[in-house]
């Protein structure tokens, strides 16, 4: 009963490339749980994807979903 969570760029330095989290019902809940475990994540800017689709706002989650935290890059 888990959700897969992936982290990219500098966010991976805080959390690791990937972790499994217990199932929660919404994306906002997942963020809250992660902020509790990884307080540094809270001040970071990122976009979120659910099952390889970038989303805005809150989204319902189910077991086996894959969420990704995507930071903006500006380097060229």
């Amino acid at each position: 009963m888990t959700i897969n969570v992936l982290f990219f760029g500098p966010l991976a330095e805080i959390v690791g490339n990937a972790i499994e989290m217990p199932v929660v019902s919404t994306l906002h809940e997942l963020e809250q749980k992660l902020f509790e475990q990884f307080p540094l994540l809270k001040d970071k800017k990122y976009a979120l994807s659910v099952n390889e689709k970038i989303v805005s706002g809150n989204v319902d989650l189910e077991e086996g979903f894959t969420i990704a935290f995507l930071p903006p890059f500006s380097g060229g």
Binding site: D43, A47, I54, A68
Partner: protein, 366 residues
Amino acid sequence: MSQRELHTRYQRQIMLKGFGIAAQQKLLAARVLVVGAGGLGCPVLQYLCAAGVGTIGVIDDDVVSLSNLHRQVLFGTDDIGKPKVEVAVEQLRRLNPEVTINIYTQRLTVDNTLELLGKYDLVVDGSDNFATRYLVNDACVLLDKPLVYGAVSTYEGQLAVFNWNKNSEQERAVNYRDVFPQPPSAQEVPNCNEAGVLGVLPGIIGTMMATEVIKIVSEIGEVLAGKLLIYNSLNHNSYRLSIEQNSEANDLIPKSTAAFKRMIYEETCISNIEIDAAAFNEWVRNDNALIIDVRDSDEMPIVSGFKHINIPYGEILERGEELDSENIILFCLSGKRSFSAAQKLKQLRKGVNVYSLKGGIESRGS
């Protein structure tokens, strides 16, 4: 150049099945602007020039420095201190004298961007800062130009084609703001110099950007439109995400030339703009701030219980001068639009305290 020489120079791509003379002619007729002659710009310029893109523009106001050389492969040690575009154009003319190369030793601003981008069919963003990235994105949306986007940080790169939607006339194509509606603050993201970058990484991402340009112009393959590709050089993993329209992006992109010219893209210090619900309630109690709802006037829920006026997000700058208070507090539903509006208003009304309710009216509960 004779027809025969032309055939010989591009022979190995003309002979490709699905490419041929027709695709080569499209490349020769194309006009592409490359923003930034840095780690991404160098390989983009080299491959587009080699492939025979007819007219290439390159804009960059920087000079070559020693710490550029591990990744900016158009430049040599004896070029240190010289303007990047001037060194680049020399190298590119040696590579392919048939290509017309226009150089611009300047920085893009709200005043020169629309005119410059208007001269090209397609724009490549290889810049190194968020201010330029948002400026170029918004200009491309306004001018309806395809934008090939790439960015790098440490060992990872991002690639996408924005504002390109060949198959649907009705639906707006996605752009950078659909992924990241607003630029991050200085605290939220380290800049490139702090973050560091593996030298070959912009080479890889830049070459992928050039590939997208060639595909778009010559109409081959499947363009990476509506997708964001994230590439990791440490394990060669790539992750591909689909992008959908984000309504916040619609609100934030300027809708006219005049609105574009009023935008403020330079990175500014935006700390201390956001206040939490407790501080907001304190301002309400003290009754010495002008509180403004920046949502459209018909947006729900209707907010009551404290004194405020309504000025929609799109009008806040035009009416900025008429706001008669030393303290101005903006709010919206989630705190995003009001944050963006507060940043701009603060620029316009220096000396006035401008705040945004963090988390919006949702954060106050009911």
